[in-house]
């Protein structure tokens, strides 16, 4: 039995990276996964780094001082943006998974994109001017 071309399979994994022929919902899904991977990476970094807390006050406070470096601030901004998008889109998925607001999916998605952009701008300003 042949599977229709849009079904997941290991044979056409490279189609994940083909930007053609994808609709808005596909991009929402792809962004959700990309932000998920980014956040997962951050999660494990975060857990390791919190080990500094366990060592003691000096280790932790030294580490906190290092975090003022703009590279780290930028990294944290990426985490914030990813978190906002992933959370809001996740809410959209949760709603539609239970059959709520399905005909309005597109509007909800555009709305959450706008919120993500606004949130990103707000935190970018806040984090780089503190």
């Amino acid at each position: 039995m042949s599977t229709p071309s849009n079904q997941p399979s290991s044979k056409n994994w490279y189609k994940w990276f083909d930007p053609r022929g994808k609709d808005l919902g596909s991009y929402a899904f792809i962004l959700n996964r990309i932000t998920a991977l980014g956040l997962t990476f951050y999660l494990f970094l975060h857990l390791i780094v919190l080990g500094q807390l366990a060592i003691g006050p000096e280790a932790y406070d030294n580490f906190m001082a290092m975090l003022h470096n703009p590279i780290f601030v930028f990294g944290e901004l990426l985490v914030v943006i990813a978190g906002i998008y992933h959370g809001l889109n996740g809410l959209r998925v949760a709603l539609t998974s239970f059959g709520i607001a399905i005909p309005y999916q597109k509007q909800i998605f555009i709305g959450l994109l706008v919120l993500t952009v606004l949130g990103s701008l707000y935190f970018a300003v806040r984090m780089f001017t503190a």
């Binding site: 290991s10 994994w13 929402a28 998920a36 956040l39 366990a54 949760a94 399905i102 998605f109």
Partner: protein
């Protein structure tokens, strides 16, 4: 965008899917709290956020806090690993490979949670008796 329901994928049973959604919603709530505590002065103990070791230890003096933090960790690790597994499922692994993958995710999850609980107790050990 199709006006169709989002449905669970094969290989991911109903419970994992449900836990993923439930943990996701709980994470949003707990993350809000986590952010307010760590980065704002809205809760009196934390002044400008938890910026020093001493601040963190003091925050943990309320026994509700370690409990909430551990729950937060469990939700985040579960959500993350179930989600990673969903991505892997799209590569259609064979049944035996999937079993191996399940074990790896399970062990990583347990290790992460145990480590996190150990961390919480390390922080608590700094509290004056």
């Amino acid at each position: 965008m199709l006006a169709t329901k989002s449905t669970p994928k094969s290989g991911e049973g109903m419970w994992l899917w449900l836990i993923k959604i439930a943990s996701g919603i709980l994470i949003i709530l707990l993350l809000l709290l986590h952010f307010i505590v760590n980065h704002t002065g809205l809760i009196s103990i934390t002044e400008n956020g938890l910026l020093t070791h001493e601040g963190v230890v003091q925050y943990y003096s309320n026994p509700l806090i370690p409990l909430i933090e551990i729950l937060f960790l469990v939700f985040v690790v579960s959500h993350s690993l179930i989600g990673l597994r969903s991505i892997v499922l799209d590569l259609k692994p064979s049944r035996s490979l999937l079993k191996g993958i399940n074990w790896v995710f399970g062990i990583v999850g347990v290790v992460a949670i145990v480590y996190g609980i150990w961390l919480v107790f390390q922080i608590l050990s700094f509290l004056p008796a």
